[in-house]
């Protein structure tokens, strides 16, 4: 394993020390641990709290700040945070207008956030939860763990965060988050496995001419293994899977996130984006907004995820609202 670390056990903590040093706008509590807006709590503003395993940087701590999250709880690498830290973060940023948890649909995340919400409720802090489950590679079934939360998480955080900034109530903020999630579909393809600091070796071996199709963001194998295809076919396969699950009609607006999983050069993401843009244009779909880059990653995995969100005018307006976080910033 080749990583810029000191010791596998210290990675999350030491990275938080760096995050804290780099961003004076954040208040990083190393004991929680959590990262919060330095100006939180803001009286009367709904507090958005997210979290999940580390290894997906910049998500989530990179999205803490004006117009997005009030706090993020980083768990160990690929391990959901524990209830205590979610409780501590939520208490630290609660401005009395309620707390919204943004939770990716993984068994661990759901249970830990649920336990935290129960504890917070006992303490008189009402929690609304937005469950993100955009990954269309997995079938949506109540009989299984269901779809994973992946790329759409950052769209939910941006748009719900912008709404919270306007003074909207917790129920409205949570409803907006849920709307964004429902409007979004994602699909991911990996060319390599990733290596967690603790495991020290790649999660799987993938031959030179094969790819994992339908992967998540935790280095797990995908739904199936296939012969490596040209970028054009990978883009088409991903877009088709998304459109089948979350249809977008000709004439409608979308936000597209062409996301790198950590080890993919930006030049390849732009190339893929060009393919996707061409296909959507041919389908009469208008890409109203887009992001190309590493936003929701899986450590050093070479791979990409595509997220398409059918966006209405309100979502676009909120998307354009000012945001100032370590990883997303505009309008301010």
């Amino acid at each position: 394993m080749k990583k810029f670390i000191n010791h596998p056990d210290a990675v999350v903590r030491e990275a938080l020390i760096g995050l804290s040093a780099a961003h004076p706008d954040l208040r990083v509590d190393l004991d929680g641990p959590y990262a919060a807006r330095a100006d939180a709590p803001r009286a009367g503003k709904v507090a958005l709290v997210s979290g999940g395993g580390s290894g997906h940087e910049p998500m989530h701590a990179g999205f803490v700040g004006l117009g997005m999250l009030d706090a993020a709880c980083p768990g160990e690498v690929f391990t959901s945070p524990v209830p205590d830290q979610i409780v501590a973060a939520s208490r630290a940023v609660d401005g009395g207008a309620g707390v919204v948890h943004i939770v990716k649909n993984y068994t661990g995340d759901v249970m830990n956030f649920q336990l935290a919400a129960d504890l917070l409720g006992d303490g008189g802090i009402e929690v609304q939860t937005v469950l993100v489950n955009d990954d269309v590679a997995v079938e949506d079934s109540t009989w299984t763990a269901g779809r994973r939360g992946t790329g759409a998480t950052m769209l939910v955080e941006k748009i719900a965060g912008a709404l919270a900034e306007t003074g909207a109530g917790a129920a409205a903020v949570a409803a907006m988050g849920t709307r964004v999630n429902e409007a979004s579909g994602s699909f991911a393809v990996a060319l390599t496995a990733c290596t967690t600091p603790a495991a020290g070796r790649p999660g799987f071996e993938l031959p030179e001419d094969e790819m994992e199709v339908g992967v998540g963001i935790h280095g797990e194998p995908g739904r199936r293994r296939e012969q490596l295809l040209p970028a054009r076919d990978i883009a088409a396969m991903s877009l088709e899977a998304i459109m089948a699950a979350k249809p977008v009609a000709s004439g409608e607006d979308v936000i597209v996130l062409m996301n790198g999983l950590g080890g993919t050069p930006l030049i390849e993401l732009y190339l893929l984006y060009g393919e996707v843009a061409g296909m959507l244009e041919a389908a009469g779909v208008r890409i109203a907004r887009n992001l190309v880059g590493d936003y929701v990653t899986s450590l050093d995995m070479a791979g990409m995820s595509l997220t398409v969100c059918r966006a209405d005018a309100e979502m676009l307006r909120l998307w354009d609202a000012p945001v100032r976080t370590p990883a997303l910033r505009w309008g301010v």
Binding site: V77, V82, G108, M111, A199, G203
Partner: protein, 216 residues
């Protein structure tokens, strides 16, 4: 079971998990995210430290402390699940003093119920439940059958539970996962042993070893 036996069991689990951490992580690499051994080891290392620092309370206190520690320190799926199981086990035991084998059986069943309620899994989903459920059944049966033993049937029940857990663990191999991370793999989850079920077996195995060794 008295408090020192309860502690000895949890220390034995901590040893066993530490020794098997790499193996557990590798099982998780095949159908999950390569962290189960790391998670369990972090958790039981914390349990050991918590017990080291805690007063020698009754069995109830030992198990609720261990459960709370897992919930607060592990995260992921396994933290809340094993943590809630131990907490439920503790809460089902007498407020003070020791637990007889029947009480322990009831406590183990309460733990299983906590896992099922929190995680929503049923037998056959390829989870902890697939080792835990048969282990509890076997424990209850053997406890009844061996209630006349000098130790109230504890050793026999623990041995039966460990064997059943092992069988349940092995039986997860052909299953297609319907809960937890492995479910994302669909058919590709078939043919792999579930990491959480494996930890469950290690826990019951440690119980059997503890109460057997300590039988005078």
């Amino acid at each position: 079971m008295d408090a020192s036996q309860a502690r000895a069991w949890l220390y034995a689990v901590a040893d066993s998990i530490a020794g098997q951490a790499d193996h557990l992580t590798q099982l998780d690499a095949a159908i999950g995210d390569s962290d189960h051994g790391v998670n369990m080891n972090r958790g039981f290392t914390a349990v050991r430290a918590a017990l080291d620092g805690a007063p020698a309370d009754g069995v109830r206190g030992v198990f609720t402390l261990a459960g709370s520690t897992l919930v607060s320190r592990v995260g992921g799926a396994s933290g809340p699940l094993f943590g809630s199981a131990l907490r439920a086990l503790g809460k089902a035991l007498p407020e003070q003093g020791d637990a007889d084998t029947a009480a322990l059986a009831a406590g183990l069943r309460a733990g299983l119920e906590a896992v099922c309620k929190l995680g929503g899994a049923v037998p056959g989903d390829k989870t902890i439940v697939d080792a835990y459920a048969p282990a509890v059944d076997a424990f209850e049966q053997a406890a009844r059958a061996h209630s006349g033993d000098r130790d109230g049937g504890l050793a026999a029940a623990a041995r039966a539970a460990a064997d059943a857990a092992q069988q349940g663990m092995r039986d997860t191999i052909p299953l297609q996962a319907r809960r937890g991370r492995a479910s994302y793999l669909g058919e590709r989850s078939v043919g792999h042993q579930d990491p959480g079920a494996t930890s469950t077996w290690l826990i019951f195995q440690a119980l059997a070893d503890t109460v057997t060794t300590r039988r005078p």
